[in-house]
């Protein structure tokens, strides 16, 4: 039998529930893998091996006693270091928050614990989930960025150190690292998942979401994470349909739209070629593929998102910045300084422009079921000084639409590429359905990095 840490979350869950694998074996396998590859990848800000083993033993006992917490029972995961974890340092990749130990868990962490997941540790983030990079390296090419800001969450899953993880996205921080690291990432609809207990970047743009090795795995994680939360007024009670059941529905009635512009610019030849192949795969599985004309307000909406992020980001950090400007790294500092100078009228106008673009995007989705694009313009850039450009993901953070990245192929030098599928508000089910059908027709997600 292959090492347990090489299994997908769903495969491991099935074996645990059939009594073919114990939670303790699985967790020990993941911890051994961390010992082996973490010195190269640097995905973790901190881990808790002893605590994880103790939890694993408790969860094995629970199963023996007939207390099954569901599909995540005993699944080892990583949590981005901007999620509050009670009693465990949450530094958000920053000097400013270094040493901060929250006394409560983020709602997502509480829910994942309740669903039986075991948190192995906190994964590296760029500073405050913004632009200054984490130390993490890309498991597919150690000289390349893993993307960010959920750098450690993507790299840890790709390297087999955990079976799933949680990240966050304000511009492209789940989908870009997922694509660069060859894993699946899901940014749910704004309002689907509570952000309570997550260090904010920009309140009206922040999303929490899962990363894992397969579409089914992220669906299972989202089912545990989603739902209303009295601590986060944006987390609405919109019912979540059974996502895993949706994955087996035929995609034949679906129509995918390929944008007529914006996503065609600046494509690396390997991305362009893999994307054309990806479209053929979609057609091959019965999805109707057609051109989708983006609304005229699309680009202005994207620019509005940039302005909103700078203004809200500056407001988040203003109090600390007054006294600790020197403790911020250059890119965050520059963002705060620029954000402070944005007039209130401009911020509000940006939110008006954004609302108009969101309405226009709703119209577009009366003609198509999913929008399909490459997740990134280029594969993971060389060097660790930047985490790459979120230009293809940021629109859907600004518009709040659910978006999924699935592995789409590799460059000739072996770097992974991602296919992005975007859906209607609160229609994660269709996005996941299309992604699962695409995944089933390809084998990119089965490849593992040469560590």
């Amino acid at each position: 039998m292959s090492e347990p840490h090489t299994l997908s979350l769903s495969e491991a869950s099935e074996r645990i529930h059939k009594g073919q694998l114990s939670v303790t074996e699985l967790v020990r396998s993941a911890l051994t893998r961390i010992e082996q590859v973490e010195p190269q990848v640097l995905a973790w800000a901190r881990t808790d091996p002893a605590g994880a083993v103790t939890q694993a033993e408790r969860l094995d006992r629970a199963l023996r006693e007939g207390r099954d917490l569901g599909p995540l029972h005993g699944i080892p995961i990583g949590v981005k270091d901007i999620y509050y974890t009670a009693g465990v340092e949450t530094a958000a990749g920053s000097k400013v928050m270094a040493g901060f130990v929250p006394d409560y868990d983020a709602t997502v962490v509480t829910r994942l614990h309740a669903a039986g997941a075991i948190v192995l540790g906190k994964t590296h983030t760029t500073e405050f989930a913004m632009l200054d990079p984490a130390p993490t390296r890309n498991p597919w090419g150690l000289g390349h960025t893993p993307g960010g800001s959920s750098s450690g969450s993507a790299a840890a899953v790709a390297a087999g150190m955990c079976l799933g993880s949680v990240g966050s996205q304000t511009a492209g921080s789940i989908l870009r690292p997922a694509a660069f690291c060859g894993v699946v990432g899901l940014k749910p609809t704004y309002g689907r998942v509570s952000r309570y207990g997550i260090v904010p970047v920009a309140w009206s743009l922040d999303h929490a979401g899962p990363l894992a090795r397969t579409v089914r795995d992220v669906a299972l994680l989202l089912e545990a994470m989603a739902g209303p939360d009295p601590h986060d007024s944006t987390a609405v009670g919109r019912p979540l349909p059974p996502l895993v059941a949706a994955l087996t529905s035929s995609p034949r009635s679906l129509t995918a739209g390929v944008p007529d512009r914006y996503f065609t610019e600046g494509l690396d030849p390997a991305v362009a070629s893999a994307f054309q192949d990806g479209l053929k795969v979609l057609e091959g599985i019965g999805i109707r593929v057609r051109e989708a004309r983006l609304p005229e307000s699309f680009e202005a909406g994207v620019e509005a998102g940039r302005l909103i992020m700078h203004a809200e980001g500056a407001a988040v950090h203003l109090d600390w910045y007054r006294t600790r400007a020197r403790d911020y790294r250059p890119k965050v500092r520059a963002l705060i300084e620029a954000g402070l100078l944005i007039p209130a009228v401009s911020y509000l106008r940006a939110q008006q422009v954004r609302a108009g673009a969101i309405a226009a995007m709703r119209e577009l989705f009366t003609e198509i079921d999913v929008l399909v694009t490459p997740t990134t313009q280029v594969p993971a850039p060389a060097g660790l000084g930047s985490t790459g450009d979120p230009i293809f993901n940021a629109p859907f953070s600004t518009f709040g639409l659910p978006a999924l990245s699935v592995p789409m192929g590799f460059t000739p030098s072996g770097l992974p590429l991602g296919l992005q599928l975007v859906g209607r508000p609160f229609d994660e089910a269709t996005v996941l359905q299309a992604g699962a059908a695409y995944e089933a027709a390809t084998d990119w997600h089965r490849r593992r990095p040469p560590l």
Partner: protein
């Protein structure tokens, strides 16, 4: 001193933030990005009465 620089200093003073903190590391200029975004947002055609994408959610009993 240019007017924009005067405005920057006035805002920094108003917000009580250091106008020129020491800058360890590479200085980064994000202003061109913000400038482009400001220009695009103010150039966009728009119903001035349209609601911004902000929401205040009151629960029953909060009124």
């Amino acid at each position: 001193m240019e007017r924009s620089e005067q405005a920057r200093r006035w805002i920094c003073e108003l917000l009580r933030v250091p106008p020129e903190p020491e800058r360890p590391g590479e200085p980064v200029d994000v202003w061109p990005i913000v400038d482009r975004a400001l220009t695009a947002v103010h150039a966009a055609s728009l119903d001035p009465f349209s609601e911004p994408a902000l929401a205040l959610r009151l629960e029953p009993g909060d009124e």
